[in-house]
Each structure stands twice: as C-alpha cells, then as structure tokens.
Symmetry: C2
Subunit: 430 residues, 2 copies
C-alpha cells in the first residue's frame, strides 16, 4: 500500500466539483487519502445470526423481506386492474440487468394466463406455406440471446407538465428495463414459411383481451427480430408475454407484441387502432408522427435522485443509465452546475448495443446547492436534446390523454436533479 | 426473400453431421430450405385468454405457474435443512444470466436472516485505522458492476464415480451460475483503512452459524475483489449473502464469503478449518492441494442433455455454456462422434471475462446413436482436459466424503452425452 496519491486525480475537471473518471477506471489507487466517511471503531457484538443455524435450502429463492419497499410503481386506468403500467424502481437498482420481477409492465387489458401446452403461433398471409408452431416445436429452432433494453414509448412523459413533477427516477423513467432475451430469430421462421415478394409488412397479434396488433416492416423482421422465449435465463414472465413475445431490439415497447398468437404477412401496414389512434405523436400543426420506431438516445442519473438525501458534503459517485435504440452509447457527459460545464463519465463495461449502459462519475459535493444532469451520445451521433429543444420541435407540453395519442411520447430530453444545501434531491426544470 | 441458399452452408465440417457455425452468425439466410419441422396448418381457435381481461398489474412479479417444474435440485446433509447445496437447472435456461431465484446455493449452516439496518462490517487487524461500516455507509462508496460467474469448487464432482451418473446437466454441473454483481471495490476500503506493510493476507468471516472463514491473498483483494451489494440489479438474495458478500471473480465459490461480517488483515493465511480440512484436494500420494483458487476452464452442453429426448432426425442447435476463472473463453470445439473429430462452435456475444459464455453449434442428426461433447479453451491457453487426463493427474476416483476433503474438487473435464437411436440422451464416459 505504498502507492502515492495520483497527482491531480482529485483536481476538478468541470464546474462544481466533478472529478476525472479515471478515479474509477484506475481501481482504488487514485482514491488514496480520499475519505468517504468517518467510521466508528467499536467492534460489533456477536450477532444472533451466528448462534443458531439459518433457514434451509430452497428450490426457488425469494428476496429478503427487508427489501419489500423496493417494488414497481403500479398505475392502473380507473375501473380496471390490468390496463395501465408499472414502473421499474430504477433508483434502487445497480448494474444493467433488471430483475424480471421488477421489469416494467404496460398492458391494455391485463395479463392473460396462457398454458404453453395449448398455445400456438400461426404464420400466415403472404407466405408460401402457412405454418403453425406449438411451443415445443418453436423451442427446437436455433436460438440467439442478447442483453437488450425495452422501453415504452410513453416513458418520461412526466416532462409534459408545467412544473417539474416530484417523482423518483423510476417514477419518471421507469418504463425502461433491460434483460438477457433469448429466442428464435424471426428470419429463420420466415425463411421456412417462404415470404412472397409482395409481403413487405407483418402484422403481429397478441392473445390478450386487447388483441394487441402492430404492423412491423419486413426489414426489421429480417434484421434482429426474435420470438423471445426466455428472459434473464428462465422462460418469459407472464407480464412479459409468456410463453412467447415478439422482440424488436431498440423499437418502442408496444411493437414488441406479447402473448404472440399470429404473424400475418401483408403488403402494407394495417393501420390497427394501436398504431393509428394510439402510439402516434400528434403535433401542434395537426399532423401526426406514426410508425416512429426506435427509442432515442437517453440517459438520466439514478444516484443521487429525487427522494434521496445526501448525508453530508464530501465525495460521491454519481451513477446512472444510458441507452439508445440506434446502437451503442458512445459517451455520457455529466454536469454539476446546471449545464454550464460538462465532463465525461466512465462507462461501465460491457457497453452493448441497444442495452442499458451504466455510467459513473466522481463528485466532490461542496454542500452548496447544485443541479446535476447527464447528456448521452450514441454511436450514430445522436445527442440527447434539452427539454427546450424538444418543446421547440414538438410544441408546448399538453396533457397526456390515456388511450389516445401520446403528444409527448418518445420523450428523451435531458433530465435535471436539484440538490439543496441540506442534501435533499428534487426534480427541476432548467 | 430471394437470397439463394448459401453454397456449402449445409456441408458437414466434422464427423456425424456437425455444420458450420456461420449458419447462426449469418442470420437466417444460410438456413433457407432447411426445414426443422413439419408444421400443421389448421388455424388455432380464438383462445380463452382473448375473451376476458387478464390479471392486474403487480408490484413484484412472479413466474408462470406453468414453470413450477423448473427449480433448483436441493440436497441437504442428513439431519440438517440448511447444510448442503442446491443446483441451478442449467438444462432449462438460456442466455448467460442466471435468475437469482435459481442461483445455486452452498451453505454450511443455513441461510441467516440479517437486518441490514443492524448489520456492520469491520475491517481490522494489520491496518492503520480499523473501520466499521453500516450498510448505508458502505452504499455511499463508489461502485462497479460486472457480469461474472460463480462456481462451487465441488461442482461436477459426479465424475467421481465408476459409472457415469444419470443426472441432468444441472444435476451434474449446476453449482455454477452467473449474475450481474455490483458493489464496492475492496481496494477502495483497504486504501481508507491503510494496510500496514506486513498485511499480506485477509481473513474474511461470515455472520452465519458456521462462521465461514477463508484467507484471501492481498493481490486478489487489491485486484478485482468487491464487496457485493447487488445481484442482477436488486440487492443480494439472502442465500447469496444478503446484505453483503465478498466477491472474488473467478475464484472458487467458498472463498466468496457470504453475510460478510469481518475482514481481518493478517501476515499469513490463518489455516481455518474451511481451508485446511475442507476445500482442500487430497492426492493419492498423501499430499494436499490447498489455496487452489481459480475455477478452471470448463464447458458442457445443456441442449440436448440427459433427460431430454430428440423427437426426430433432422436439424438441431447444440447449445451449452463455457467459462474460465482465468479470463475470457477463447473458443469452444464440439464433437458429435465421441471426440474423433471436432469443429468450432459459435460464441454468443458478449464474451465477457470470468462470465458464462454461451456457445451454439448447428447439427444435422442422422438418427443414429451419437456421442456429443464440448471442449473449451480460455484466453490464457488453458484447454479443458479429458476425464482420463484428470484421473491420471489426480488419481483414481474415490467417494466424496461430505465436510472433509474434496478429492475430486475442481473437476473440469470434458463431459459426454450419449444419444441413442430413439433420441434419448444420457451421460456416458468415453
């Protein structure tokens, strides 16, 4: 432990105490002499847990009862129990994998209970050979697996209010999650069915009571689309489409049709209600943006975030997540002075295409009020816009009527957290 | 869909029907004309799930009741409920992430119930400043996160029998799992405590009734060791050490002390019972291998695997997992003729250091009996040995007495599955 403190490692790289990301990249050496807390020095008593054997082995584990406060925020449409959404508590999570029990939900008529032994998938329409697959038959096909995010196009629509809503990071942005998805490439099944030359689109239909229906262009179907059977190792969860869902990496959540029942090859989009009345962006000039697929580059800070309190001035790690439906995150810049100056955050490996990427930034908080924010750039060169830029493009914020258009769907603007002199964190517009 | 079938894509690359891995790398195109099944063509009736709304949104999700048969195989020492192990059902999983509910367990006195508000971690011994951390204090420190495997050194010891045991892939090899682990680099905490020059080892002690104790060399502690607080996004599961465990990437599972209570800096290993009597390899010549840390390069096929039945001759994807405590998997070769000829499998990205890596290999099964196996090589050049090579090095297999030595610990030999003319899969020694 004779390494000397790295010269200049604790010099600020941007306003209000941001430090160089090499503090983390170099392991602990550069942090020598940096005290995070004043620790107590009385040894703990022998805990009760050491005085008797613990509980037994279990066939299927559960989390600690002490973690019950970490849960999805459920919001159902009045008069229903299963129409609405539940949001991932991103402020309580670390790493890039979302546990399946906390993956966000968005349903239009609840979660069906489907027996995989009974469920079938039909591929029909403009094909040479209509095919029907049992789930066992589907599982015989070659599979691929990728760690990729999924985001509802209505995520972050909380920016659609005159005053910054006081919600947690998950309350604002929790319609985004990331899993290890595995399944059969759709291209393999389409090859077997034989798509006719005029088959340019594909209608995906769910087996839920909403009969969710979305049109998908053939280019995406033949690119990286899969019929997902597994999520984070095990079979899909019911709320994620058990036993099979369409998964379109990077595309808005609603198109990733759950409880998939039929794929119909067509020559044009069918203009289903789910893509003409819903999941359409109505602009101020009366025009609508439709078939607006990829989720745009986005990032936000999860630690610290609203609802948390920083206990004292000193050293902190700012941590958050970034992602883009257009590929890999190229960089994330962080500001601690409300956007006046920026410095580049460390990206936690692996940085995977169309996956959550965690960023980390060292910060010496002076104890004075501060505004922190992150701005991500993807490998395609897209940069996260400011809220003012988004409003200029889309028009002034309006309310978000349920089950009609999403005037503020696809909201990916920079999000700012304010920290007051007592360390309390809140959502602010800047 | 006018792409012509790739010339030669379906020509065998090794004996008994192994095909080139580019079949998967090139997407579906190369598979044109390859029929996996004869599908039925009657359209399914409108399912019951579409006739009424489904169940409501949930704060914390659960898997489908139809998946209840997928669970850990629990084996407790007679007279106890919590001493023993439970194995991950690897044959039922896909991708590289193990769901936390199915992560393997290995306990020496059950799973303690620890209140994180009461738990403390002490760093003492040969340090300048003994430190005690509450879990809240620990969570303030900078974190890192990595997708990495964990394996019990007793995994795969089923090869220690005269006849090949008839178990599933998880039954044989299920003391290995892979998670997104996040926590505080141990190096940061040791810097703050100030390790004295004579502090060369570190005794890690758990807060379980077994008081699990293992000595860790300082080089590992300062390299990539973390105090893990999160597993697959959420806080650690109780059976993985909630609220904090030592995590030593690539090192044998037992050293990754759970329910971590104290870290004592010492000048030498303490020769705790858990490292002198247990977790020691006793050789035929009476000598013992101790402090034998990294889990060696290993691979095995999970699909098809024992307990499964291949429904008919035709095209299949052989799939399995590989990993090494020495870094990344460099390649996996697969044989379908009992080791006479080999061909290289496709590695599913991402291939991460000290993480499970999934491999995939196309196979045209003729319907004749076959023996399939995989052989992995890591980036350090280590190659998985045959069972005969392992026996030559270690001596003839002996029984594995519980809670004494593990004469067949660190077993990483090539594993073979036999397939009979009816498609039934079994474990065979070759």
């Amino acid at each position: 432990m004779t390494k000397s403190r790295e010269q200049g490692a604790l010099e600020p790289v941007a306003g209000n105490g941001l430090l160089h990301r090499r503090l983390f990249l170099a392991g602990g050496a550069a942090l020598a002499g940096t005290t995070f807390l004043t620790a107590k020095a009385a040894p703990p008593d022998l805990p009760e847990s050491m005085k008797a054997p613990g509980v037994g082995l279990r066939a299927y584990g559960e989390r600690s009862a002490h973690e019950a406060a970490v849960h999805r925020a459920v919001g159902a449409t009045p008069g229903t129990t299963g129409t609405g959404s539940s949001r991932t508590p991103l402020e309580s999570l670390e790493g890039i994998i979302t546990p399946s029990s906390l993956h966000f939900e968005r349903h239009h008529s609840g979660v069906p209970d489907i027996d995989p032994a009974q469920h079938q998938l039909l591929i029909h329409g403009l094909v040479e050979r209509p095919l029907i697959f049992s789930m066992d038959a589907l599982a015989r096909y070659p599979m691929v697996s990728h760690i990729q995010f999924l985001e509802c196009s209505g995520n972050s629509a909380g920016n659609n209010t005159a005053e910054a809503p006081q919600q947690t990071a998950g309350g604002m942005h929790g319609l985004a999650s990331c899993s290890d998805w595995a399944g059969v490439p759709l291209s393999v099944l389409l090859q077997e069915a034989g798509v006719k030359p005029e088959g340019k689109w594909l209608l995906a239909e769910g087996a839920d009571a909403a009969a969710m229906s979305r049109s998908v262009p053939m280019a995406k179907a033949l690119d990286d689309a899969i019929l997902a059977l597994y999520q984070n190792g095990e079979r899909l969860r019911p709320e994620q489409g058990y036993p099979v869902r369409l998964f379109l990496p990077g595309y808005e959540g609603n198109m990733n049709v759950k409880w998939l029942r039929r794929l119909k090859l067509t020559d044009a989009p069918v203009m289903a209600i789910n893509e003409s009345r819903q999941y359409t962006l109505l602009m101020d000039d009366g025009k609508a943006w439709r078939f607006y697929y990829p989720q745009e580059i986005k990032s936000f800070i999860t630690r610290p975030s609203p609802g948390m309190k920083m206990p004292s001035p000193g050293y902190y790690q700012i941590s958050g997540i970034a992602y883009s439906g257009h590929g890999r995150v190229a960089k994330v810049d962080v500001s601690a002075d409300g956007g006046k100056s920026w410095a580049q955050a460390a990206l936690q490996a692996p940085v995977l295409p169309k996956a959550l990427t965690r960023f980390r930034m060292p910060w010496a908080w002076s104890g004075q009020p501060a505004v922190i924010m992150s701005r991500a750039t993807d490998e395609a060169g897209n940069v996260q816009p400011t809220r003012a830029q988004l409003i200029k493009e889309r028009g002034e914020p309006r309310g978000t009527p349920l089950v009609t258009a999403f005037p503020m769907g696809h909201v990916n603007c920079i999000c700012s957290w304010g920290i007051d002199a007592q360390g309390a964190v809140s959502h602010v517009y800047v």
